[in-house]
């Protein structure tokens, strides 16, 4: 009896602080957000009026909401595809591109150096990366890209100030920062593939391109799914980069805006607490839908195997 009591005392003692912190600062705000999304509260007045689903009805008619969804949609397609494609090619070159060398497959020369460099942007804060690229993208010849374009006799481009280029320039920065992480992730996956698979295929005369498509890619399936989920979730964030890098946080004219940025603006700048919360709820359901859909697809692929 004493031992059992001591055990429960120990368990309660160890859980008390983390569970309290977590419930107070994480769980309770989430629950309040759902509640607030049904109110028209402005964050100050002592009267909180419940407005039912009015906020959501307004949301559906809000052009900015659809602009944000468009950004998320394009990012959800482009970011994972481009990042994974580039990272796969580099991971393949760095781990297996050197062909068979003695006992097994090897990467091209200098692969350790490349891995260190490629991963470097990953350790920089996204906000810092945003400020960095804001300077690189300067609209006239004093931005480094435009400086080079002018030298080549071309017109400078307003990378972030033109609605047509802003989103793509933003996506380029996201890819720039993300690739290195996935090179390292895929390298770990490739290292786990038994070397004799490659050797057997090469003995049969398969070239490196065929090795990539018939052995590497199918055996990396699980890692690729992890990458897809990670990049998909990142596509629903983008807060720091859009806030720092784009014109007027989400501009020009909403061309790069995302829900997190609109939530922040509505809450902290416009004091529309209820409306911001409704956006948060919408974002939550979008993220959950994405996760569930991805898991569905994953499961089906597993059965087919």
């Amino acid at each position: 009896m004493g031992e059992r009591l001591r055990k429960y005392g120990f368990v309660a003692g160890f859980l008390a602080v983390p569970v309290t912190l977590y419930v107070v600062f994480v769980i309770s705000p989430y629950i309040q957000a759902f509640q607030l999304s049904l109110t028209g509260w402005n964050g100050i007045s002592s009267v909180v009026t419940y407005v039912g689903l009015d906020n959501f009805a307004r949301l559906v008619r809000d052009e900015v909401f659809w602009q944000a969804l468009r950004t998320h949609g394009i990012t959800l397609l482009v970011l994972p595809l481009v990042t994974i494609a580039i990272a796969l090619v580099f991971a393949f070159l760095l781990n297996l591109g050197g062909g068979s060398r003695g006992a097994g497959m090897a990467g091209v020369g200098g692969s350790a150096f490349y891995k260190v460099v490629f991963f470097a942007p990953q350790v920089l804060a996204v906000a810092i990366v945003g400020v960095l690229w804001k300077q690189i993208y300067r609209p006239d010849e004093n931005g480094v890209i435009n400086g080079a374009l002018v030298k080549l006799g071309m017109e400078p481009v307003g990378w972030m100030s033109e609605p047509e280029t802003a989103l793509w320039a933003l996506l380029a920065v996201m890819v720039w920062q993300a690739v290195g992480f996935y090179v390292v992730l895929f390298s770990a996956g490739m290292a786990a593939i038994p070397k004799d698979y490659f050797e057997a295929a090469m003995l049969d005369g398969a070239g490196r391109v065929r090795l990539f498509f018939t052995i590497t890619l199918p055996l990396l399936r699980d890692t690729l799914q992890v990458a897809w989920v990670y990049l998909g979730i990142a596509a629903f964030d983008c807060f720091a980069l859009v806030n720092v890098l784009t014109v007027d946080a989400g501009g020009p004219d909403g061309a790069t805006t995302v829900l997190p940025v609109e939530i922040f603006k509505n809450f902290f700048s416009y004091s529309k607490v209820g409306y911001a919360s409704a956006m948060g709820v919408a974002l939550f359901f979008l993220t959950i839908t994405f996760a569930v859909l991805t898991l569905r697809v994953t499961r089906r692929e597993k059965i087919e195997l």
Binding site: L15, L21, L185, V226
Partner: protein, 280 residues
């Protein structure tokens, strides 16, 4: 099919691709570094020219006048305490949830893990009011406490999985020797979990160092309390009307270079620490 792929053409092409990406990463950083020595005239001139002199006073202005020194110290203090707290409380919760049977275990575990599925933007507004009620707005304590709370889901998830793999025999032996549950944890189990602890510590240090949303929301106006990310973002917006672009470039370098140095020294651990997030 050929007997063997042509190694020369293939490796030449692969090296070109790899070198291009290397340049895409190094050149922007190098340009920012060089620009930190330029004066305003050079910054508004041809971007591809070199600075006329090594103007270290740009860096001095960034450190003192633009507060970058203060922002760095604040960030170090906040991240030190928040990571330490995250590791302490996260490992305690994870250990108990992974290795003890008691009513409510599963529920608490799921409560923690579900936190990974919720976008933080959903909570950010109400969180502001919660922190305000405790009188912790514009304070490092508030930031530290919130960082810990939001780092717990992944930390608990990861460490619980790690603690489950540790052999029961060792804990049993310690208990037979008369060690209390608490002592068993701190002196036997925690040291055995060192590889997992190292990975997840690096993961949390980087994540909390890079945090931008939470300080922006919870330390909105007291500049003396700001962390580096919000500080640099602010310098970037005010550089326009203070017309001190050289200090902005110097400030950016002050934020980037220490991180890159730490990265180069600990690259192996950092890569596996961040990778830990993906290899669950």
């Amino acid at each position: 099919m050929r007997d063997k792929p042509k190694p020369s053409v293939f490796s030449a092409l692969s090296h070109v691709a790899l070198i291009v990406w290397t340049l895409l990463i190094i050149l922007p950083l190098l340009w920012i570094f060089l620009a930190s020595f330029k004066n305003n005239t050079e910054i508004f001139g041809d971007a591809l020219q070199l600075p006329g002199a090594l103007r270290w006073d740009n860096w001095a202005r960034a450190l003192e006048k633009a507060n970058v020194g203060i922002y760095m110290v604040n960030t170090v203090v906040v991240v030190f305490f928040s990571t330490a707290g995250t590791m302490l409380f996260g490992s305690m919760a994870a250990y108990v949830l992974a290795r003890y049977r008691f009513p409510g275990n599963r529920l608490i575990y799921l409560l923690f893990v579900s936190g990974m599925a919720f976008p933080v933007f959903l909570a950010i507004g109400p969180l502001f009011f919660v922190v305000k009620q405790f009188g912790l707005l514009e304070s490092h304590v508030g930031l530290i406490v919130v960082y810990i709370a939001y780092s717990l889901p992944f930390t608990v998830f990861f460490l619980a999985a790690f603690f489950r793999t540790l052999p029961e025999a060792v804990a049993e032996a310690a208990r037979i020797d008369g060690a209390s549950h608490t002592r068993t944890f701190f002196q036997v189990m925690l040291p055995m979990a060192k590889p997992g602890m190292v990975s997840i510590t690096i993961f949390n240090v980087l994540g909390q160092w890079n945090q931008y949303l939470l300080p922006l929301a919870l330390v909105p106006s007291d500049r003396s309390k700001w962390v580096i990310t919000q500080g640099i973002a602010d310098i970037s917006t005010i550089a326009g009307y203070e017309a001190d672009w050289p200090a902005l470039f110097a400030a950016l370098n002050l934020a980037i270079i220490p991180v890159l140095i730490v990265y180069i020294v600990f690259q192996r651990q950092i890569q596996s620490g961040l990778g830990a997030g993906a290899l669950k």
